[in-house]
Amino acid sequence: MSQSADQIPGRERAIELALTGAEYDQIVELLGREPNEVELAMYSLLWSEHCAYKHSKKILRRLPTEGERLLLGVGENAGAVEVEGLAVAFKVESHNHPSAVEPFQGAATGVGGILRDVIALGARPVAMLDSLRFGYPSSERSRWLLDRAVAGIGHYGNSIGVPTVGGEIHFDPSYESNCLINAMCVGIADPDRLMRCAATGIGNRVLLIGALTGRDGIGGASVLASTELGDDDADKRPTVQIGDPFAEKKVLEACLELVDADLLVALQDLGAAGLTSSASEMAAQGEVGLDIDVARVPLREADMEPFEIMVSESQERMLAIVEPARVAAVEQICEKWELLCTDIGEVTEGGHMRIFRGEEIVGDIPVTTLVDDCPLYDLQPSPPAEGLYPAPPVELPETADPATTLLALLAGCNIASRRPVFEQYDQIVQARTVRRPDEADAAVLALEASGNRRPAIAMSIDGNGRRVAADPLRGSLDGVLECAANLACVGAEPLGLTNCLNFGNPEKPHVAWQLVNAVEGIAQGCEALAIPVVGGNVSLYNEGPDGPILPTPVIGMVGELPDAERCAGIGFAKEGHAVAVVGPFEPSLVASELAARRGRAPSGSLPQVAAELILAAQQAVRDGVRSGTILSAHDISDGGLAVTLAECCGASGIGCSIELDELTDEALFGEAPGSGFVISGELAAIEAIDGARVIGATGGSSLTISSEDGGFAVDVEELHATRENGLRPYLP
């Protein structure tokens, strides 16, 4: 080894790089010597929480990962399920901490990263969805984060020609210093051409495709993603990557051409921890070694050190394993797309990652020690003694009458229309979008016609931190069921889910308790639906000086429907239809939007309705939508029945008259996500649906809700305008 490689950075440097002393000792033991600078940099990243899942891996084993329709599961760049002979690939990932530091580039590169995960399977990305969390928009910082993150998502997704078809945004004070940016990508591939990431074939070449390697994002995974945020975040700005969607567009088209021409052995994107992570994962999956020569890596800055090249998180780069005879053909396609394609190494026997600078070896690590030997920690879960989250400010008096309350909820930041956001996204490019945002509870994308049928896929992304805070297990189970309810509303059957677990510091017992129970809830949801988790991401240490974020497991679900001609929307179809509620709906104000607006902390017991009853209702809705008897369907979620009805009216411009047994806060504004639906259609057909309780009829220009004791009416135009304009002031 050379002079520079011989320099031993030592234990203190390891701790600066966010490893623990004990972890450093373990590295020394595994290597039989102290690591040099390059090696230590590589360990510090691959042994970070972000890459190694060291606090979550053990509990994640609880999640079901097998399914009848599963083509590719956990461990690959993204998961995939089979639909109509196609592989539908999908995955959600977080980019929280970079976005809290620099929201535009943080969010943009979050989109870029998840796109590359799907591209790495050889799939064409066909849809993006986002799940965003911010503090209340009354805060200037939250408005800035919202505005810039949305602009960043749009900038990247729009420029690359992938439609953003859905998403959700929630505001809560707990996200004030730690916003969440979760992005989900869905892609379509030929199942016979699905790429894997395992490097195989001793002597095969390692090609780096795409952008130049620079100093951006060095240490992003360990410094940003695996520690708590604090006051000196501006200093971390250089660790945020800068996105170039044009470069990614060329990477996308070139990679799909390469896959189409069958020129690749394996493909992997460069994400967190850059070349280190991609190369070692490919080597580990293929049970081979890799020689990488950093001197051949095309650089943006000439004087980069080997460790910087190995850990740079420069965007828009892919790593491909190619048989030597096919290298020229690969180079030719890359040249057509004006992309760099550089042979930087070779697949070797013996299972070592050897890093060269020209002839000189600057690092030599057994691959398994990087990827498999990171210590996994047991959590010490313990429920908090008292509520973790302070009560939010009171915005709505308990004494407000129902009509005032309804309008206040519709205008509120958590329920108001997201139009000012989703209008900034291209929702339609690629010409598959059957249901755009706000038209239905799930996005619907048509596939190729099959005879006179237009099969389609549907997708939804959802999460409710308040409910998970109140009851991590039930709240998370309900989150899964709500996603399935969204799919049922467009007639779709769930096939699989991806999750992003956004939590605080897992080394704190109460956060560990939230995490363990949330995973249990998701697992129970999967078991009830008989679907697997196909992949996902964990984002921990989401805490600021004021404490942890609400525990926020985000679920992205994909399903199929036989015919896109029959996928109901939210809006009533026409006047004179019956309106009914379906499902074992037991509304509660615990952790509801109304409770938050009234200044109540998210705590209390959630309704514990049996999942089988909920799924039976979802089946009834799905069947009704598919058969055409249900002509509008909307699941009752944030804001309860009254808000749901207002949305059905607003989306169609058609009023309705509703008769309820009582007009209590629970009946009007109580929530029980996933378990109740508002549907409409011809009276006889609706009455015939098992479990449907007809509560009124469509018609007129107002939403009228009454009981024996009285009632209230609000003009549909006022409902619609109130909801439409709620978020506008924050995104002028």
Binding site: G154, F246, E338, E423, Y425, D426, I428, V434
Partner: protein, 225 residues
Amino acid sequence: MRIGVVRFPGSCDEADAIAAASAVAEAELLWHGRTDLDGVDAVVVPGGFSYGDYLRPGAIARYSPVMTAVAAFAADGGPVLGICNGFQVLCEAGLLPGALLPNNSLRFICRQVDLTVERTTTPWTAACEAGEQLSIPSKHANGRWYADDQTLAQIEANGQVVFRYAPGQNPNGSLADIAGVCSEQGNVVGLMPHPEHAVDLLTGSADGLKLFASVLEEGSSVPVS
């Protein structure tokens, strides 16, 4: 009838333009690096972000080799349609009047809009009725059509305004609600909204098909003035 759809690095809507054109004719992609048009009868310059829209939308793409061939084809009276980024490219290339500035909101806006057909004597609007309204999605960040007073007066007088946003629906602050214009000869048409995304009722509207049907109706028989 064969319609060629230009593909630049960074084009995004070229596959959708091919699909729309295929509904009425044969369609093929024309790689930006080629210097001929493979003998096609009509050319579509599609939407997207050619060269990342770096510098200015269309400013780099106009120098692509294929654009020389497109300009010659246009000069010969060949039908050329520029959609969104394609419109920007054609303006940058001087084949259409005016320029496309950032939307007055400074934001990307994706919205279904109604367009009024102002001129039907172009190869891309021959199948429309004068004054007809078409429901077409619009999605762009730089779509505010602008020209100096003299140019505006001239193209209004020449009848070179092909599409206007319906009253109250101008999404970007375009002058005189102009959504699309044509060359003096009428054979080159550009518009910001996306007719290729309005060819299937299932995805929202089929009104955009009329533009593609028009070129079939006219075929290559557009008179060269």
